[in-house]
């Protein structure tokens, strides 16, 4: 019970910080839209191509924007010795991780929810009929992305290059998330069931959230 309250407090802290500065959400959303725009220019998809390349396009935009998001929530910890304060807090390391993870998932979901309708409008693609399916994929995909991303952002923040290395380490690790999420989204676009890909996403989420809880302590001790 106390653990749960601690986690919620930590999530609240990150969300409040974000609501006050809005630096993360704004840059992420703009970047996400820009990615969609650039990919649209690069491929000039018509009605049929959209159904085909749309899922990949969306998830590339989400991953790029997500990388920025992970970077912002991590950078805020480095200011004014916030990280030291967190370390001293009478909270389990696992809770610190879960708090950060949930905050990242919320932040990413907001950006995704803005990008999705925009994608629908720009490409004349009806996203509303398949909204429940799309939201399910997004939910599990985002958890997987953030589960690995939260811990890697903490790791790369110790390097001299800071955020530069995050995508280098993160992208090979999220290959399964990207594959499964794109596959599931494509299935949703076609109106097919998406069980296989979704199951893979859930397995990934379970494995990496557990690993994250176990390993975050070691990252913070440093």
């Amino acid at each position: 019970m106390r653990t749960l309250r601690n986690i919620l407090l930590l999530v609240g802290k990150d969300i409040r910080l974000e609501l006050r500065t809005k630096q993360g959400v704004v840059s992420m959303t703009v970047f996400s839209i820009l990615t969609v725009l650039l990919l649209a220019f690069a491929f000039e998809p018509g009605r049929e191509e959209t159904e085909w390349i749309g899922p990949g396009l969306l998830w590339i935009a989400f991953s790029f924007a997500g990388t920025i998001g992970l970077e912002t929530t991590q950078t805020s910890e480095r200011e004014e010795g916030a990280l030291e304060a967190l370390r001293m807090a009478p909270v389990g390391r696992g809770s610190l991780y879960l708090g950060k993870l949930i905050a990242n998932v919320i932040l990413l979901s907001v950006v995704e929810l803005v990008t999705l309708p925009l994608f629908g409008i720009l490409f004349n693609f009806e996203v509303l009929p398949m909204l429940p399916e799309l939201l399910t994929v997004q939910f599990f995909g985002t958890i997987g992305f953030a589960a690995v991303g939260t811990i890697l952002a903490a790791v790369t923040s110790y390097t001299k290059l800071r955020g530069v290395l995050l995508p280098v380490v993160l992208f090979p690790m999220i290959v399964p998330v990207l594959l499964a999420a794109v596959e599931a989204t494509a299935a949703a676009f076609r109106g097919d069931p998406m069980t296989g890909a979704l199951r893979l996403l859930i397995v990934y989420d379970i494995v990496f959230v557990t690993t994250g809880v176990l390993l975050f302590g070691s990252v913070l001790e440093e």
Binding site: V169, G196, V219, E222
Partner: protein
């Protein structure tokens, strides 16, 4: 270190190198002189004796990195970290070999260099994972225990990814042949080929072992040299 200990080390090194050299020579003879020519693929099939053992060693190497990383996080022993890092470096080299011999083999047999098949892709991702491990490690500060701990975290996360990437095989079409050993019913190797293959597997594992020993020794020498340099500048 006493000079006597150094001497035994040197003798051991020579023995290992001699063993490896002989085994490699025998392996080459087995591959090109003993094993029969494959009926449809001909001489190209010889790549098999390099490709598959290299793949096996790269998996073994990354598994060692994984175990070393876990051991480091639990025991905080520096040796475990050095083992993990050395093995990751070697694994990347062997994985590079897999990725080079694969297309060389695929081009004449499948008619293409590369296909986005699950097994090829997952090997490629594996290679990228450990390359990023090495890159990240080189950018982490060497002072204190930070580099050791954080590399260990990446080593564990990276290795856990491998089976999940591999699972994608289930819903991705695959062009890579089923494993010929203990694969399907109609797969299998001629006995002479099997002998050659297993010997090649042994030689590659031996090569990995000898290189790993050398790499770890090099690490020790490097640290000693650094310590001496520090003492020199302090004076």
């Amino acid at each position: 270190m006493s000079s006597e200990k150094q001497n035994t080390r040197a003798v051991a090194d020579t023995v290992w190198l001699l063993l490896l050299g002989t085994a490699m020579a025998v392996n080459i003879w087995l591959i090109f002189g003993f094993a029969p020519l494959e009926r449809t693929m001909g001489l190209m099939q010889k790549v098999f004796y390099f490709h598959v053992p290299a793949a096996w060693v790269s998996f073994l190497a990354f598994f060692v990195t994984f175990c070393g990383s876990i051991t480091y996080l639990i025991t905080k022993r520096e040796g475990a970290d050095r083992l993990a890092a050395a093995s990751a470096g070697l694994g990347t080299v062997f994985c590079t070999m897999v990725l080079i011999t694969g297309p060389l083999w695929a081009k004449p047999i499948w008619g293409i260099w590369w296909t986005w098949d699950a097994r090829l892709t997952s090997t490629f991702v594996l290679w990228l994972l450990f390359l990023s491990y090495l890159i990240l490690r080189s950018y982490l500060p060497a002072t204190g225990t930070r580099r050791q701990t954080l590399s260990a975290v990446i080593g564990i996360l990276g290795f856990l990814n491998v089976p999940i990437v591999y699972m994608s095989i289930r819903w991705w079409r695959t062009q890579h042949p089923q494993p010929v050993i203990a694969g399907g019913d109609d797969s299998g190797l001629a006995p002479d080929m099997l002998v050659t293959f297993f010997f090649s597997l042994f030689v590659f594992t031996l090569l990995y072992w000898v290189l790993l020993r050398l790499r770890l020794r090099q690490d020790v020498s490097e640290r000693k040299l650094r310590a001496l340099q520090r003492r020199e500048t302090a004076r």
